[in-house]
């Protein structure tokens, strides 16, 4: 069965891009969230195999969302989507429970490698 994915990013552009990459690799996108709050709600509802999480989002940032999801499910597999120059934030996200990261702009091969590491 295909792995299910929840994509969290406030930019449609980024959601589309990540969605394209993962769909082509055989993943099933089961949900999308535009804010941290939505991300947490959707996670509890959908329990996806994988979450891709933007760091900066409105109302609740990605790092806080990671914290809440991780508190709800310590086995959550979360992949952070970071921009260049956000190393401190990515470190914080990893400490909060995220498993790995990819850096924007996304290269499909890198995204898929990171996904394999997170799921593996």
């Amino acid at each position: 069965m295909n792995h299910t994915v929840l994509i969290c990013d406030d930019a449609v552009f980024m959601r589309t891009m990540v969605g394209d990459i993962l769909t082509q690799a055989g993943f099933e996108i089961v949900g999308q969230a535009e804010t941290g709050v939505q991300a947490v709600e959707q996670y509890k509802l959908l329990k996806p195999d994988l979450v891709t999480m933007d760091i900066v989002m409105p109302d609740m940032g990605g790092i806080d969302a990671v914290r809440e999801i991780y508190a709800f499910d310590p086995n959550a597999k979360i992949l952070m989507c970071s921009a260049m120059g956000q190393q401190a934030l990515v470190v914080e996200a990893i400490q909060a429970g995220a498993k790995d990261f990819v850096v924007k702009p996304f290269q499909p091969s890198r995204v898929l490698e990171a996904v394999q590491r997170v799921l593996g």
Binding site: M17, I21, M84, Q87, L89, I94, V103, P108, R117
Partner: protein, 645 residues
Amino acid sequence: MNTLEYADLFLTESREHVVAVNRALLELERDTTGPNSSGAVAEIFRAVHTIKGMGATMGFAIVAELAHELENVLDRVRRDDLALDVDVMDVLFRAADILELAVEAAVAGRDGELHSADLVAQLRALGTITSNGDWTVDAPPGPGMLVRIRLQPDTPLRGVRAFIIVQSLGKLGEVLVTEPYIEDLQSEGFASDFALRLATTADPSAVEDVVRRAGDVADVEVNGDIAKESPAEKPAAKQAANPVARISGPFGAEPAEIDGARRARHVRIDVRRLDALMNLAGELVIARGRLTQLSADLGNAALEETVTQASALITELRDEITASRMVPVSHVFDRFPRIVRDAARAVGKPIDFVVEGKDIELDRSMLDELGDSIVHLLRNAIDHGIEDSEQRAAAGKPETGRLVLSAVRDRSAIVIKVSDDGKGIDRARVLARAKRDGLIDAARTDLTEDELLRLIARPGFSTAEAVTSMSGRGVGVDAVYTRVRSLGGAMDIRSVQGRGTTMILRLPLTLAVVRAVLARVADETYAIPLAHVSESIELSADDVRTVNGREVLLARDEVLPLLRLRQIVGLPEYVAPSAIELEQVVMIDLGDRRAALVVDELVAQDEIVVKQYDGPREGLDCFAGATLLGDGAPSLIVDVSSLAA
């Protein structure tokens, strides 16, 4: 993947990165081994790496290949494996240029047309790795299993990757110490490899496996020297308490203080969206004017209070939107050092280029519009203003020419100056030429700065050979003059023969909403942008003189040309209703020049929203646009820069 829709974003970002590369290359060229050089190399590396990633995503093979080869060269430089001599610097500069071309070509759908094979070969030769893969960091002292790790050369966020590796090793035991310290690892303070000591009972092969699975690992070595030192040594709890191991402490338990988390966060916004917001804010400002007036007429206290409150909020909203459109001039100015360097090299003149006031902020659209004009002025200064070394030496000047670009905030205007210490404009030639063309009275023996500017800014005049070969300083000045005026600005010139020339641009901070003085003549109200107004006084007939058939005003120590708005808009002369009702004079700043504008009365000072005309108006180019006043009546905005012409 359909990447066409990302092309714009790719282009914008890549351009920014190329600018960053050029800036850092210039910094490197000044000092290839100094304390800042490694930072500059790192900056170039990052920018090139990003372009590579984006190019690859977009499927632009040439861009990705170029960036990749360039990255390999930079990686060698970064590891002190390749010295930055003149030849290498030249290749790097060329690579930056070709990379920029490749980006533009790729977006235009001509990715395959660029011939970059020789450059790629050059880069490849420079980038060939000669190092033998030795570990560069010292083994941290102390107990525990020694683990050495080298990351892939193109690892993104290497600091974070290192952190993840260290954290994942935490599952097998306790990481006692790292080399460099964990804080430095996180902030990418290491070349390509790092080392650590792990207190664990796990098998070395299990350790290696965990490290490799953490990602982006090129090379791992476990237990490299522990075997030599003390093969039987097994990490134990008491050894973990060894003071050496405590220097950087164990980690994973408490998160390090992360100050980066509170750094400013940015989003990218389409300029058109900002334009739309600005327009709406403008409409709101107009509506506010009408609302304020209506509520004042009604005299309802509660209504007035609410209107005042709403009005303050609108002002705040407008200010925020205006501020969001402001960018530091460095946004555009940062391109110039490279342009100046190349232009100066092309004509073989050593030139010291200084940029002042890079942090001054200006409306994004305005800044974009200005970029080309400033390049024009810089090129003129280099090509024609500054003399070659021999001429300079003969004139007793330092051999290196000096070119200064400065931005200064002056009230609600910004003043941009391009100054050179060159030979100045040959006034005699300009005068002779102007007389020949019948542009100026044949009896004149000198030109004012005003006349000089207006002459060289005449289309066609300046490009005429007789002038350009002598002073040259006219090429494109007409274009610059027109552009600056269309932006609601004014231009001025100061030129001293043998000493140099300064071009002065004075511009409003933003295009859409400006503060203005509202002035009345007869029944009509005109708006005069405050960016050009220095003060106002009452007109006393005693201070008016006539010189050469033109009226002038004696104001303190100055003699200013006197202009009458009534005359300009074709109204009959002012007739004072009583002896005490004097006309008002608005003092106008134009670049460095001043003039006095006479109006009947000053009505108010207010924010106005500049609306462009729908089409040209016959004969009246003294207006820069129109606006709606608080009472809904239209008002014309005086184009002050046209007044003195």
